[in-house]
């Protein structure tokens, strides 16, 4: 039981443990080096800028929301609906001539409704998060089809508000693109919330031991509601950014984020021994996916092979992390 005996035991397996713990980081470094050699344009500032703005920011904000939910031991399959609803209301309000501020408030409000709906279903009706958010996903898809007569995109013709918002997605502050600054601020906020606040401790407790959390006096329904509302709001931010970037609302486009965001969050969990999600891990997971996608494109793989490549690489990273850790135990 003594500390030194523990150390002796773990020393033998520490190399493998080290490899298991940092396998994602090692794989990340190896992939960056590989693409840097294979493609001369990969490490150019223009390309990295492009990866950050187009592949990282929006996915990362959705993944931050999922990180909170997965930390609480749940899942949210309806993040795509939150993205879409925010995007839809935002674009509809702007198209109707309202100002950008009203559009953003409306968009976030729509995402908030999705989050509250999830919270009610999970905490009041005791439906498991998986089924509750799956049901909301189906309802959200129908709602969008009905609202857009079967999935017609809505385009923002250039007007005052449209230009203004497209500008926000395209401008930079101190040389850093505005969306990237938004991501940094949000990531920092979620990090503090999840790893440094009382709320975060409650969330982690609910994820680790739901029964114990309940008996310890944590108001599980209230904290869980907060978790789902926050996740939906973050997805809503992505929805607004998405519309501002492409100047339109394309129905059912949010679902594309779901599987990637889940993947990124769980890749991030390989950083911790207990497999807990963390903001840093999630960001690393998102970066890994984005870099592989971009690198394979630059090396000249077509879109179809990229998907195979991403699957294989993620599979190998996971295999290394999980397999080595199992061997280390």
């Amino acid at each position: 039981m003594s500390v030194s005996a523990n150390d002796n035991n773990s020393a033998k397996v520490s190399v493998r443990g080290f490899l298991a713990k940092y396998s994602v980081l090692i794989a990340f470094a190896a992939i960056v080096i590989f693409f840097a050699i294979a493609s001369p344009t990969f490490l150019t500032p223009a390309n990295l800028f492009n990866v950050l703005v187009n592949n990282v920011v929006m996915l990362a904000i959705v993944a931050l929301g999922l990180t909170i939910v997965i930390s609480s031991g749940g899942i949210d399959l309806s993040v795509g609906v939150s993205v879409d609803m925010a995007s839809m209301i935002f674009v509809m309000l702007l198209a109707a001539g309202y100002s950008g501020v009203v559009g953003v408030a409306g968009g976030l409000g729509a995402a908030l409704i999705v989050g509250i709906l999830n919270a009610i279903l999970i905490t009041r009706l005791n439906i498991s998060p998986f089924l509750a958010t799956l049901g909301v996903l189906f309802i959200g898809q129908s709602t969008q089809q009905l609202a857009t007569s079967g999935g017609q995109p809505i385009y923002l013709t250039s007007g005052y508000a449209a230009d203004q918002f497209n500008a926000i997605a395209r401008t930079a502050l101190f040389g850093i693109p505005t969306p990237v600054i938004m991501l940094i601020v949000l990531a920092l906020a979620v990090h503090l919330l999840l790893h440094r606040s009382v709320f975060g401790r409650y969330v982690q407790a609910m994820g680790a031991q739901p029964g114990v959390a309940w008996y310890s006096g944590i108001r599980v329904p209230r904290e869980l509601s907060m978790v789902h509302v926050l996740c939906a709001l973050l997805a809503g931010v992505t929805g607004i950014l998405l519309s501002a970037t492409v100047k339109s609302y394309v129905p059912l486009s949010g679902n594309a984020f779901l599987l990637d965001a889940i993947g990124a969050t769980f890749i991030g969990t390989t950083l911790s021994r207990e497999r807990k999600p963390s903001v840093i891990g999630t960001l690393l997971g998102v970066l890994l996916l984005a870099i592989v996608k971009n690198g394979l494109l630059l090396v000249g793989w077509n879109f179809y092979w990229q998907q195979v490549g991403i699957g294989v690489l993620v599979f190998l990273v996971l295999a290394a992390s999980f397999g080595l850790r199992r061997a280390a135990h």
Binding site: S128, I267, G311, V314
Partner: protein
């Protein structure tokens, strides 16, 4: 233990309050349950009265036919959930099943269009399906990767390979087997409907009528106890993933026969498959996934879509109503479960 301590500290007034609370809760449960049954009955009654030809034999067989593909896939998913346990993030799940079906369909249609016979093409499709299933099994059982993650990675691989093979186009296919599946019939029931009936019968008998099925439930319900009882847990869990791959291959042949082609976009079926397998749990008394429950929920979803179609209601409503009904049914059962727990 913490529960008993907690109870000891609860005062008399708290107990009264708790009793009042549980009474209110029971009343709420009653309202919701009756409301749900009434809603379900009302929908079906509405279809029977107003949807022209809803109850005709032809239409009901048509529903069974349309449910065949979803049903076969849902059986694979159900087997994986039974063997892996139904924990949301760590239990058994196969996200790759729909993409796997797409890949098998692409392989099958491509081989047929290259002139290989039915026999070879079917063997190849089933081999591919089971190989993808085996890959999942290696990842989950051999490497210990979370099923959710492992099958997510395999989903990408399978979907990418399907796209590479077909270049995202429709690959037309025709063969004697496909002709038989489309137009063949026996005892007035079409071949596709027979496919679902026979497949369902096999699945229900194997999972619910044999000691093999019982062990499978043991493995999913309590892996340690199963291991202590001498059951090879890794074998059973691996088996479910390979079976899921096999189901994907069978479904791929059905889908190619229905569409006379392999078409992109089969991955969209994933959520419906998950919904069918999870919704099926509410038909069992102990809320565990069962093959019979999965069959009922698949037919239920089929009847719903069919009724809407006959009523000329826009198909955009179907998903939403399906989602709302899932929530309703699950809410009722969780109320029922809650009152059981308090007893």
């Amino acid at each position: 233990m913490s529960a008993t301590v907690f109870h000891a500290e609860v005062g008399v007034s708290d107990e009264k309050q708790a009793a009042a609370k549980s009474a209110r809760r029971r009343f709420g449960a009653l309202v919701v349950r009756l409301g749900a049954i009434a809603a379900f009955a009302a929908i079906m009654a509405y279809f029977v009265i107003f949807a022209p030809g809803f109850t005709s034999t032809f239409n009901l067989i048509n529903v069974v036919e349309q449910s065949a593909i979803l049903g076969v896939l849902a059986y694979g998913m159900t087997a994986v959930i039974i063997g892996g346990g139904s924990n949301v993030t760590e239990g058994g799940i196969d996200l790759s099943i729909a993409a796997n079906m797409g890949l098998c369909a692409a392989v099958y249609a491509t081989l047929l269009s290259m002139g290989y016979g039915d026999f070879l093409s079917v063997i190849a499709a089933i081999a591919v399906g089971m190989a993808v299933g085996a890959l999942n099994a290696v990842a989950v059982v051999g490497l210990g990767i979370l099923p959710l993650l492992a099958t997510l990675a395999v989903l990408n691989v399978a979907a990418g390979m399907e796209l590479t093979l077909t270049q995202n186009t429709v690959v037309g296919a025709s063969s004697p087997l496909l002709g038989l599946l489309v137009s063949g019939s026996f005892l007035g029931i079409s071949a596709l409907a027979w496919a679902l009936i026979v497949f369902s019968a096999i699945m229900i008998v194997v999972v619910h009528g044999t000691s093999f099925g019982l062990r499978l439930y043991a493995v999913g319900g309590h892996p340690e106890a199963a291991r202590a009882a001498g059951i090879s847990v890794p074998f059973y869990v691996s088996f479910t993933y390979v079976l899921s791959g096999f189901c994907a291959a069978v479904a791929s042949i059905l889908t190619v026969s229905r569409l006379s082609a392999s078409t992109p976009g089969s991955g969209e079926l994933l959520l419906s498959v998950l919904a069918a397998a999870l919704l099926g749990t509410v038909f069992s008394r102990r809320f565990v996934p069962t093959m019979g429950g999965t069959l009922l929920s698949v037919l239920f979803i089929g009847l719903l879509a069919n009724g809407f179609q006959l009523l000329n209601v826009s198909s955009y409503w179907v998903n939403g109503v399906q989602g709302a009904l899932i929530l309703l049914v699950v809410a009722i059962t969780s109320f029922a479960r809650g009152s059981e727990g308090s007893r």
